[in-house]
């Protein structure tokens, strides 16, 4: 039923996971993560940049969170919505928290995908060009099987594509906790440069390079591909 709700408002992926190990302080009583993903419409094909903050997708994700929250409230469960992106001016208190909660961790815990060398959440069928949002709750939902290791195998496409050299090429393991795979300072500096030059703070070449691995493949092929990346 909750799945229908989110899909009704356009979510492409939805899953439940035990996020107790990935919560910020003060959230221990909300150990179940509801991870919601929406594939970005723009074709990764010819684009030079990837903007994950498409306005329509953002507001659709917000709507999905609102519906999930109303559903949980009606049934007497506790919840907290972590929006995909947030304007601290609009929702001055809850929005501040959203930056401290990892949507990617919620997604791996729910078994929706793994973290690639590019530090992004890779959904086995939709790839990296998905925007994520999360609701944490105390509702007893059927939990997914968490992903605990990256599936990049022999691929290094994102590390080669990054103009900032921010991607070291290390593989992700859940046991490393919140360990960062990407040099965020280098990425930020590069985004600063792009912003100065173009006016938009967008890069995402790491996402595009990864999406290119999927290009032209059907969903089934993509799954197969994910398992066979050692051949790349």
């Amino acid at each position: 039923m909750i799945e229908e709700l989110a899909l009704d408002c356009g979510a492409d992926v939805l899953g439940f996971g035990d996020v107790s190990e990935a919560l910020p302080p003060g959230f221990a009583h909300l150990p179940v993560g509801i991870s919601v993903g929406m594939a970005n419409a723009q074709s990764p094909g010819g684009a030079a940049r990837y903007d994950h903050r498409d306005v329509e997708i953002q507001s659709a994700l917000d709507e999905a969170l609102r519906e999930i929250a109303a559903f949980l409230r009606l049934r007497g469960y506790r919840y907290f919505c972590c929006p995909a992106e947030c304007d601290p001016m609009e929702s001055p208190f809850t929005a501040r928290m959203a930056h401290r909660f990892s949507h990617k961790a919620a997604a791996t815990c729910a078994g929706l995908g793994w973290v690639g060398r590019n530090g992004l959440l890779i959904h086995p069928e939709l790839g990296p060009c998905v925007s994520w949002a999360t609701v944490v709750t105390n509702a007893p939902l059927p939990l997914g099987d968490p992903w605990t290791e990256g599936e990049c195998r022999g691929c290094m496409a994102c590390a080669e594509a990054c103009p900032a050299g921010a991607i070291s090429g290390k593989g992700w393991r859940r046991s490393q906790g919140m360990h960062r795979l990407v040099d965020a300072d280098r990425c930020r500096d590069s985004l600063d440069t792009v912003e100065r030059e173009t006016g938009a703070r967008v890069c995402g070449r790491c996402a595009l390079a990864c999406a290119a691995v999927y290009r032209g493949k059907g969903a089934a092929d993509r799954k197969q591909l994910a398992l066979n990346w050692s051949n790349l």
Partner: protein
Amino acid sequence: MGSDERKQELFGKMKEGVIEYDEDQVVEAANALVDEGFDAYEGIMDGLAAGMEVVGELFDSQEYFVPEVLMCADALYAGLDILRPKVDMAGREAVKGEVVIGVVEGDVHDIGKNLVKMMFEVAGFTVHDLGADVPIDEFVEKQINTNSDIVALSAMMTTTMMGMKKAIVKLKEKNPDVMIMLGGAPVTGEIADMFGADGYSENASNAVSEAIKMVAALRKM
């Protein structure tokens, strides 16, 4: 229904909306209050702030935790957005006082700081928010320029905390009556005493609780 009864009903709805972090209910009641011509200031104090006081109690009794408090604060804020522009300042004691507020270093404490700031505003204070990562001297400067009654400082690091002592000495030198509040991870009651501060809050989540408790105090002022 009598008009007073209706007023109390709307106050109750706002209060309950804040406690149950139900933004929609708060917004609906606040709009009704305005439409029906009731006093917006009373609505803020006896509806919204009264609700936050209960939230403070729920937080103390560990019924609520940080996420609930943040949602309650957002619900309060939504009501404030509607009521604040309608507050009739004429015939009311204009401002209760002025406060300088800021975080000395680090951003973790921002939420606590913003909550304290909102509570001061709710209670009718003029707030000078210096933001985060503020050098100590700026607090002193601002206090002198505005002649504020209260200075609220928070620090996240032991190293910067030592700077606070100097600030307090300077502030008290200029104005012995200025009230100084300290907050932040490394601040303890003893340190606050030693530094000569007037109030402190123990840690990040206590800062939240302290902030809420201040409403109660402020409502009585």
